[in-house]
Amino acid sequence: MMRRGFILPEVMTALVLTGIVAGALFAMVRTQVRLVSAGIERTSRADALRVASLVIGAETRAAAPADIHGIGPDSLAVRIFRGTGIVCAHENDVTHMRYRGFRQPDPVKDSVLIADTDEVISVSGYGSMGRPCGTGEVSLGLRLGGAPQRVGTVLLVFETGTYHFSTRALRFRRGNEGRQPITDEMLDDAHTGFTPSGSAFSARITLRAGQRAATPFERALVVFPSLNR
């Protein structure tokens, strides 16, 4: 009898101990999951801050004053350069050039700017692509408006678009198209925007309140210097 009666406290003790251990484990796992989630969110927020400043800085570093078309509280209208060509030959009405860029010119949305005079000319279409400018060079033929450009002239292919801080993200809009997001929706609209400053400009970028964790760098005031200003 003594041995049978001893079983109940033993079982209860075991249950209590198991509960305590399981509870501790659950709390530990939940804390760690929260930590991981907070780490991921913190990385995403830092990326949003970083990407916003990097993209705008890269696009405007070589911009001249004439390339900045307008600076609003939440928008920046600017020429965005997609490639550089150096005229090497003319064939009929086609201008051949050595070309290097982030992408091929698109006659639908691109224009061309003569680098040393800042004169803008239109692109009406592609020419033949068969005539190389030189060994190892990528040759591109374009039909350009206006008088033929002298051999050696530097042409900058650009499109005009607008960067917006809106709906919690940095977005880009070209023409009448919709605004395409560049960052995750991590920004605080009320405290994010552009500020003109003489011939330069700056951007105040603020992250919206985090759901899980505070980020060490919640906001940044980024001044965008330009080599040509």
């Binding site: 530990m28 070589a62 350069f81 040393d116």
Partner: protein, 358 residues
Amino acid sequence: MSPRREGFIIAVTLLVMLLLEVLAGGMLLVALHERVVATARNDVTTARARAETAIAREVGAWKHGEFHRMRVGEVRAIESDSTSVRIERLRGDLFLLAGTAPLRPGASSGGFGRAFLLLRAFDTQMLLQQLTGALVLAAPAQLLGDTRVAGALSTDCEWTGGPPAGVATTRPDMLTVGTAAEVAGLPPVLLDTFPREAAPRLAGLSLSEIAALADRTATGAITPAPALLNGNCDKGHPANWGTPLESEHPCADYVPFIYADGDLEIAGGAGQGLLVVTGNLVVRHGATFNGVIVAGGSVLIANATVRGAIYARSPSDPAVLLDASVLFEPCAINAALFSPPLLHRPLFPPGRIWLPAH
């Protein structure tokens, strides 16, 4: 305690430790990712700044590179401190400087920071090609009295152009040669059909850019003469245009670029160099000038000698030579276009200097 119970606790402990290690590892990966991104950004920014600095260094040392002697299309690469600058003459008046710096100094592979800069320059070849005769004209001209205009090549100096005419003019029907005047050359009078850049641009540059390159400016009337200061050529003296008459003189090697915004009269004396006059030009009273004269208005040469070439650009203002001597002289022309100290300084384009790095 049975062995079975001891095993249970060990298993729980190991499980907890494994969880902690996995989670700690995850956090470490996140931190490492941030570090890699931050380092890469720093490397790119630093490399780009080093490329830009390398370009700026070459611009500062431009005169030592003799880049104005490069042919169109020629490329020179300059390596220094693990950076390189590639200088290409795109056009006679346009240079492209491409700077490259590795992301990690000393590394032979990996990414690079790049920068591109445009420079404008005086296009010597363009002006040389337009000097097709001793006297180049676009307007009515009269050669009167004992005037002699001769286009001939000497073997002393290199000349890359064609045989020089005596008078090269777009209007031969409006050229009057007096009975005592003499015109010689290959041919003596050339119907000039050479395509010329529209005034007021000269050698690819605007007049304001040309003025920025001048060693000295002049207006009104002047009698140039060499000047000394403590036995050395006084290049700061306003009337010192060097001397073409005394080869041993300290100022014999001083060949300035003189710019006159408006009318100019050279009343005697002697000088040499490149003379650009935007208005009317008068040379008289026994004056001697060696080099190239470019005049935007009328030209009157009376009882004076010019060795080199005269380029009268105005299509309407007449040129009159009276008892004058104008002799095509390649040595004087080359000296005038290659020797002025400031003529081949680089200029920044008006619109933009730095190009996007693609």
